[in-house]
Symmetry: C3
Subunit: 343 residues, 3 copies
């Protein structure tokens, strides 16, 4: 955080318009915690009042807030503009290129230019590691794995044999890509393992969270398309296909052979049963459970176990605590009917 | 995938009957994706139509499909037969026997014949590793651990001290066996840790999924019996006992001291409260939550939070979205009653 | 388990009163499994009968059980007293102090006195490791991380750069502290990553379970206060603050920017939506889902999705399976009304 920049410099770097004094600033912070000399942002209109109280030198916002004492950096997408300002003050550090003498890289693995390979990393035979890829300590890159250029693999990631990772992907610590799908055939001797001989393919610009697991396909491939982001502790079963620009929150589970579309948003702890489709653009509320295919045709947002259109779910959820009262009311009606001798 | 086999050879190897031309084949694929020269299978009668359209040379099935253009390999258990054919074309590769010079194996650990120990593996004092066991890169085998012959430990597995693993077990990457059970006694100074001094015992032919965690017992042992299969990201608490040939899907959590029977099937994201019993043969729907002991006596299949017999749950689930309408109907009845002056 | 102690010695060490013969004992066990010569405990009055049948030499209990054949060690908090006795017979083994020659410790890292650093551990530049800290095999301690004295880090833990861990903390295998928060800004080119430049701070006496993940803050810090205990496979999002002496069971997920109070108890598989507050002392039933802030004002215990006061939830849960019957009853009332020609 030693960078010092003028607001006018920042404005030109992020394509914003400066409204106010061209002060020098030295960092970023949340709007309630910002100190003098820092930049903050306002993307949710609910928090407009904070702009009047903030000590920040400047607020990135869509429109200036009247009566605020700070400068504004006006941008049509304040959250995105803020992301860029954070980067200006916190440029991503990267390790020096080079292979640690304490790594184990097979002679028949192909390493691109300027890769960084940390200590206790294993790169197996036939693996292909693209230019400028960073593989941090203790990660395992199996046989015939490929990792596209500029990807970043944090410590202790496992890529089983044959896994393909695109460019600029980010894999967080502890994630496991390409473990066996969960397939067993019942037999007289108990369950027999169905060999899982497919692969996993992860597209460009995908991010995979810490300790998330993605199983290889039985046959064929498990696929996660370009730009999709997975949070921590997510399970993706064998032969699943997930489209592009989809966002999946933590602890969600996607059973085998599901098809999840593009620009889908899944809340945390969602569960999808096997072999179902979730259409492009669908949003699923946290903790919902989906047992059959859904699309935006009937509703864009779904919630509940089993998932129903979100609006209906909201009404149902609100009525739940009145259920005991409803039972009593029905009982009263029955008593009245009985008393009036109608039966 | 360089193997080439005649269908008659396959038939004799898997105990199937060939019905059709004795073509030469070179691989396996799913029924919709199979190319000429490949073998596929049909176990779900719902997909019988696919057998007429497939390009596969042969379909493994219970009965031949009339008007299909391919050969059939007839078998009473097509899914199991298919598993064997996959193995014929994709024999499990195993690393060369030997201990990596980059592993750390204690002088007082006992290694069996033909074990393979990868780089950055740690085997602590007193550990016993059976014949032909494979321990892949970065795994940790604690003090006094035993691993039975022919077991396969993928990269980055942790076996805490004293854990016992049976024969032919498969432990996927990132799983942690023998971490402390979650036990604390409230005191004036906050929670005091109850030392967890028991062990974990995992039976023969058990498979444990990626990033699954199994806690050691407080006293005594946490046990998973022969042939049971656990998917990824499952939690098994301290002192749990799970029977044999049980199958547990991803992200399920089993609280401390539960007893889960044999041939049980738990769906994904199921939760069991502490100290309960799930009887032999019970099936639990995904996302169900079980608060008290259940058995097949009342129902074989259970679902819901709390879990109720599945048939009832299906009806309840279907009615949920009509709940707002039900409240309105009761209101109308009350209005009518009131209008008719009965009160 | 070679220790042999007289009951009177134990009584004085744990501050209990011996009621019965001063026998010599050699171990601890659960009340139903205890052998002659062992000590056990009774904290739940439900199990008082076991004290009459136990073979144990002595039972730690609040009050003596009449007609029991064993001695008693009387203590106002039997569970806590038992924890101490377990420790007497199973003193925590610790590895020899020293840095493994197979570890990678940066020259600019500061190691305290008597630290133990196992093989394949990485300690990056600027890290500070307190006195007597144990870092087991394969763990990763990032740049500028600090670990307070007497903390215990099990194998294969990841501490991303800048993470701060307090004193006497216990981090179980596979946990990941300081991974990026899940923050992306939608743009025309897809989701752009919001750099996550905050940290994680973990207080003294905190325990973190196996494969649990705790994300670093976007800005500022994610905090877990003194004495709080997290079970396995838990997700803690960016900018979360958790108070002291809070206990969180396995597979629970806490979304970004939540504030969880002190002395809170969260059951397993609970989910908290983003930006909500859970007040001091709240208890949440397993699998509950919380969408808005709650405190003990309305109820101490909450359950359900969405969470409602536990007492109401119990009644609702009990009525759920009668819902089909309720629909039929309303239908009958409607039919009767219609037959009586009131409309």
């Amino acid at each position: 955080m030693e960078n010092r920049l003028r607001l006018s410099e920042i404005a030109s770097m992020i394509g914003a318009v400066l409204d106010g004094d061209d002060a020098e600033v030295n960092g970023v912070a949340a709007i309630e915690e910002a100190l003098p000399g820092q930049v903050t942002f306002l993307s949710n209109p609910k928090y407009t009042a904070h702009a009047r109280d903030t000590k920040a030198a400047a607020v990135i916002a869509k429109d200036p807030v009247p009566d605020a004492g700070c400068a504004f950096l006006l941008s049509p997408n304040p959250y995105l503009a803020f992301a860029r300002v954070v980067e200006l003050f916190h440029p991503r550090e990267r390790p020096e290129p080079g292979v640690s003498p304490m790594a184990s890289v097979h002679a028949d693995a192909a390493l691109g230019k300027d890769v960084s390979i940390g200590p206790f990393v294993v790169v197996e035979k036939g693996a292909i590691v693209g230019d400028r890829v960073i593989i941090m300590a203790g990660s395992y890159v199996g046989k015939e794995v490929s990792v596209g250029e500029d990807s970043l693999i944090y410590p202790r990631v496992t890529l089983y044999h044959g896994v393909r990772v695109g460019k600029r992907a980010i894999l967080h610590s502890g994630c496991v890509i390409g473990s066996d799908g969960f397939g067993f055939a019942p037999s007289e001797k108990g369950f027999m393992k169905i060999p899982q001989v497919g692969i996993v393919e992860i597209g460009d610009d995908v991010e995979i969270g810490a300790n998330t697991t993605i199983d290889r396909a039985t046959l064929g491939m498990t696929r996660i398309d370009r730009g999709t982001k997975l949070d921590n502790l997510i399970q993706v079963g064998h032969n699943v296909a997930i489209g592009s620009d989809t966002v999946i929150a933590s602890q969600t589970g996607i059973s085998g052979s599901c098809k999840v579309g593009s620009r889908v948003m899944l809340g945390g702890q969602v569960g999808l049963a096997g072999h179902i489709e979730v259409g492009d653009g669908v949003m699923l509320g946290a903790k919902s459970g989906v047992g059959s295919s859904i699309s935006t045709k009937e509703s864009q947002v779904w919630s509940g176990i089993p998932a129903i259109p979100h609006k209906t779910w909201l009404r149902v959820a609100m009525l739940m605590s009145s259920l005991p009262e409803l039972f009593r009311r029905v009982k009263r009606l029955e008593a009245a009917k009985s008393a009036s001798g109608e039966e």
